[in-house]
């Protein structure tokens, strides 16, 4: 069973070598060029240049205050960036405001630390509101697709309930379904398991691993090192608003180059 069938046709699993003679270059889905971000006089991001190709699962890690959440939020312009930098989604520059920005945001799924399900709408409505109001789907069609997604993240039984009646893990899985309902090109996860009780972390990570296996392009801000190793194609280590390391998970965890990365790994892997 696949979470998100249409991605299957677009990409091959990362573990397989491409057949000889075909191009290994995948189109860049997210491109950040010279991205800087100030909050007043505090510089949250400094000279970020990143390209995330289609199908890649990029794990962003770093100590708190390192700018990793800010980085994630700039990609769909929940945070603006300083003049001079640019962010492109599938080749298209992020517009400043209005309808064009909304359209591009619909292509970028976002999962928040605090779930942010619409509190006054049922689980089902949370998933159908985007397809109906943004994409103009008929209610019956949106409901059918939403139920399929809810089935796959394992919360179809709760479709008629309100968000506050669900556990944190269930709410976060609904939030993933809500984002997937828009058929996004890329999914952003901003510390999706940080607000969860420990026993609920795994059920959310399982859904994310499955999504990664199906070839979804993902940017995941997380402290879950197991997930990073299991599903990540790439680890981006940030500190004080800069990208310090950008490598594959195995290299990062076994042979970090920077002192700060070693220090950080030492702290989180010590116990």
């Amino acid at each position: 069973m696949t979470l998100y069938p249409h991605t299957m046709t677009q990409s091959t699993p990362a573990s397989e070598d491409p057949p000889a003679g075909t191009s290994t270059e995948k189109r860049p889905l997210v491109e950040l060029t010279n991205v800087n971000k100030h909050f007043g006089s505090f510089q949250a991001l400094t000279d970020i240049d990143l390209t995330i190709p289609e199908g890649q699962v990029a794990i962003v890690i770093g100590p708190s205050g390192s700018g990793k959440s800010t980085l994630c939020r700039t990609i769909n312009r929940l945070e603006t960036i300083d003049d001079g930098g640019s962010i492109r989604i599938d080749g298209e520059a992020l517009p400043e405001e209005g309808k064009a920005l909304a359209r591009l945001r619909a292509d970028v799924g976002m999962v928040f630390q605090s779930f942010n399900l619409f509190a006054h709408k049922s689980i089902l409505e949370n998933v159908t509101v985007g397809p109906i109001k943004v994409k103009g789907l008929k209610k019956a069609e949106a409901t059918k697709e939403a139920m399929t997604l809810l089935e796959r993240v394992g919360v179809a039984q709760q479709a008629k309930k309100m968000p506050a009646e669900l556990s944190g893990g269930q709410q976060q899985r609904v939030a993933i379904a809500r984002a997937l309902a828009m058929k996004p090109k890329v999914m952003l996860f901003d510390e999706p398991t940080s607000a969860l009780d420990p026993e609920m972390v795994q059920e959310v990570l399982d859904v994310m691993v499955q999504l990664a296996r199906e070839g979804m392009t993902m940017v995941v801000v997380t402290h879950e090192m197991g997930f990073a190793r299991q599903a990540g194609d790439r680890v981006i280590f940030m500190d004080e608003g800069r990208v310090l390391e950008d490598t594959d998970p195995e290299t990062f965890f076994t042979d970090p180059q920077h002192e700060r990365a070693k220090n950080f790994l030492g702290k989180i892997l010590a116990h």
Binding site: N76, L78, E97, G98, K99, A102, R103, R105, A106, V108, G109, M110, F112, S114, N116, L117, F118, A119, H120, V129, G130, K133, V134, M162, P163, A164, E165, A175, R178, A179, M182
Partner: protein
């Protein structure tokens, strides 16, 4: 007490209260619509809309209702000759409804804005992240939650509006407080009873509003 009950035959007390109810109902609708629009102005991402909203609130909320009512009747009708209806009474009734709506819209706006403050920022971010623009995000996600959070201050505004309909007497509308003055003028010996009658009448109108407000704010509260 002599002659008290005869007053009800002589004067149309219920009809006067009915006028207050009509003023309340129409001005409640008018001020709710205008207040919601003003609230949208106040939370808009566009600076000039926010400025317009803030200016309206600061000017109208800080002007006494009587001044607005008299301004309408003396200046707009008296000098500028703006007439909504040919019928004299109906025309002044319209003026009273408009003045009450304009004035209370500023309080409705602030009540809704206090409700908007009860909606976590994450709700807006989630709405925008699925591709909703400002107005749909406001209509589908923010306002439904904000209104539920604003029921108590909205109820208080409705109660104030109900009592403020008595100011319509300044626009010659035949409502309860105007009738009270007339009754007292011709029956000064019954002054206390007349006064109590009108006061109790307003209590009967207003007390259920408080009860319904409390009940609704419990029933419709958004669980988070």
């Amino acid at each position: 007490m002599n002659g008290f009950f005869e007053l009800f035959a002589e004067y149309d007390v219920l009809g006067a209260f009915w006028m207050n109810i009509k003023l309340t109902a129409l001005a409640a609708i008018g001020s709710f619509i205008l207040g919601t629009i003003l609230a949208l102005f106040r939370i808009s991402p566009v600076t000039s809309f926010r400025t317009i909203g803030t200016a309206y609130i600061n000017i109208v909320r800080n002007t006494p209702l009587t001044i607005i009512m008299v301004l309408g009747v003396l200046a707009v009708w008296g000098q500028l000759k703006v007439e909504f209806f040919g019928d004299f009474d109906l025309n002044f009734f319209a003026y009273a409804v408009i003045a009450l709506s304009l004035y209370h819209a500023s309080f409705v706006c602030e009540a809704i804005r206090s409700g908007v403050n009860t909606v976590p920022l994450g709700q807006v971010e989630a709405a925008r992240a699925i591709g909703l623009t400002f107005l749909p995000a406001a209509r589908i996600v923010v306002l439904p939650q904000a209104l539920r959070g604003a029921i108590t201050p909205l109820g208080n505004t409705l109660i104030a509006l109900t009592k403020n309909t008595t100011v319509a007497a300044a626009a010659s509308v035949a409502e309860a407080s105007g009738l009270m003055s007339t009754m007292i003028e011709f029956n000064p010996d019954l002054m206390i009873y007349i006064f109590l009658t009108i006061a109790i009448g307003f209590c009967i109108l207003v007390i259920p509003m408080g009860i319904v407000t409390t009940w609704l704010s419990d029933k419709l509260a958004v669980a988070r």
